[in-house]
């Protein structure tokens, strides 16, 4: 029956190299214990079989293939590096181009929106007289009776009221502009025939247009423009010719 001593002896025999001498206690135990002796015989046989596997030789072209592999690695290393760098640069350049394109298209679309916005709401920026509008905007540090921009108190000052857009509109439309003028623009409407309006005082569809120019030294030049036909002119119902096409 195996006991602790058997385990210790077997472990000792197991840890020794083949052919290595074991202790006297192990020798004594092996002489007495048939089970441990059998185990030791089998273990020794097994280790001899495993040890007989020996060393497998590398192929004859091992060195040649290794040199080729090292040479290939050393030559392909920088190439891979530069290929990656070039690829990265190309990608970055393409990203920049795409980004610039997106920004340009977005700005162009915003400019178009602003033109439509200004054309739809021209009356917002017109001057308003003080008797029809709220009192002029003055700074807080000025007294109420002070004159603004050289206008005396006797004449009611013309104040240009700037209509401030909400902050969100400013962010969306950074390219919007305001037409500031004190002269009211004439408005074309359908009541007058085309060509007789104040915007174009000559009825160009009936008579020719002749202009004489003199340069001040006796040299005169005459320019004669034949009868011009502008075709049929359509005027929008609301008087807004800058409205988008869907309003026509």
């Amino acid at each position: 029956m195996r006991n602790n001593n058997c385990k210790l002896i077997c472990r000792e025999l197991d840890e020794l190299m083949l052919g290595e001498a074991w202790s006297a206690a192990a020798t004594e135990h092996l002489r007495e214990c048939a089970e441990c002796r059998e185990f030791h015989v089998q273990q020794t046989k097994l280790r001899k079989i495993v040890g007989s596997l020996g060393t497998v030789e590398a192929p004859a072209d091992f060195d040649f293939r290794l040199r080729a592999r090292l040479a290939n690695d050393s030559s392909s290393g920088p190439a891979i590096y530069w290929r990656l760098v070039r690829g990265g640069l190309v990608t970055a350049a393409m990203a920049v181009i795409v980004l610039l394109g997106v920004v340009a298209v977005r700005d162009a679309m915003r400019v178009g929106e602003n033109i439509g916005e200004v054309a739809r709401k021209p009356e917002v920026h017109q001057p308003v007289k003080t008797d029809q509008a709220p009192p002029p905007v003055v700074r807080e540090d000025k007294k109420p009776d002070q004159v603004i921009a050289g206008v005396t108190n006797e004449a009611p000052p013309i104040v240009y009221k700037s209509v401030r857009r909400p902050p969100t509109d400013d962010k969306k439309r950074p390219l919007s502009s305001f037409a500031m003028s004190s002269t009211r623009a004439s408005v074309l409407n359908g009541a007058e025939p085309a060509g007789m309006s104040t915007a174009f005082p000559i009825d160009s569809s009936v008579q020719s247009f002749t202009v004489s120019l003199e340069d001040g030294r006796g040299n005169a030049k005459t320019i004669s423009v034949p009868t011009v036909s502008f075709g049929s002119q359509r005027i929008g119902q609301g008087g807004n010719q800058f409205a988008p096409k869907r309003d026509w």
């Binding site: 097994l46 280790r47 079989i49 060393t55 497998v56 192929p59 060195d63």
Partner: protein
Amino acid sequence: MNTLTTIDELGFAPAVQQDVLEDTTSDHALLEATRSGDHDAFAELVSRYRNQITSYIYRMTNDYDGAVDLAQETFVRVYRAADRYQRSYAFSTYIYRIATNLAISELRKRKRRKLVSLTGFFQPTDGGEAKELNPPDLRPLQDLELVDTERRNAVQRAIGTLPEKYRAPLILRDVDGRSYDEIAKILETSEGTVKSRISRARGFLREKMRAYL
């Protein structure tokens, strides 16, 4: 009274020359020379270890062509990492550690791919221990050489069925004859663990090889 005519008569000269010779041809010195660009030194290292490493990986993977490829990869890694090599371990320990890691990685890859060995084993689907496809022929053979060949093939196949944590220490100990201390350094584990795993591995092998013992 005799007088000394040359320094060689003192008897020290051969010992000094031997020391110098050993120092310049040690693995460390060869790797130092490789680091400084000496290709012949690296070739000498390769010639020293190519058979050992190829054989070790072959015993681990049971695939000769794959073992040659992995042995080459081992030397490539040694060459590339020559600058980072530290002399705290023996060079053999260092190169065997690289080879062991490569072999274990290969075994794990195969396990993931569920590759079946062509040497007569198949992996069970229940995740248990691999079984031998062809049981050993118990009939007595006439030729003793054939018996030895059959035994070697059987033990090679049986080693191939061991779990990798038992396989590497068993091969390093019983095939390569390395010490427990060196095996522990190669496998980066304790000496006690190495002894325990080798004992378990032999127990597995004894069960599989019972017909040949």
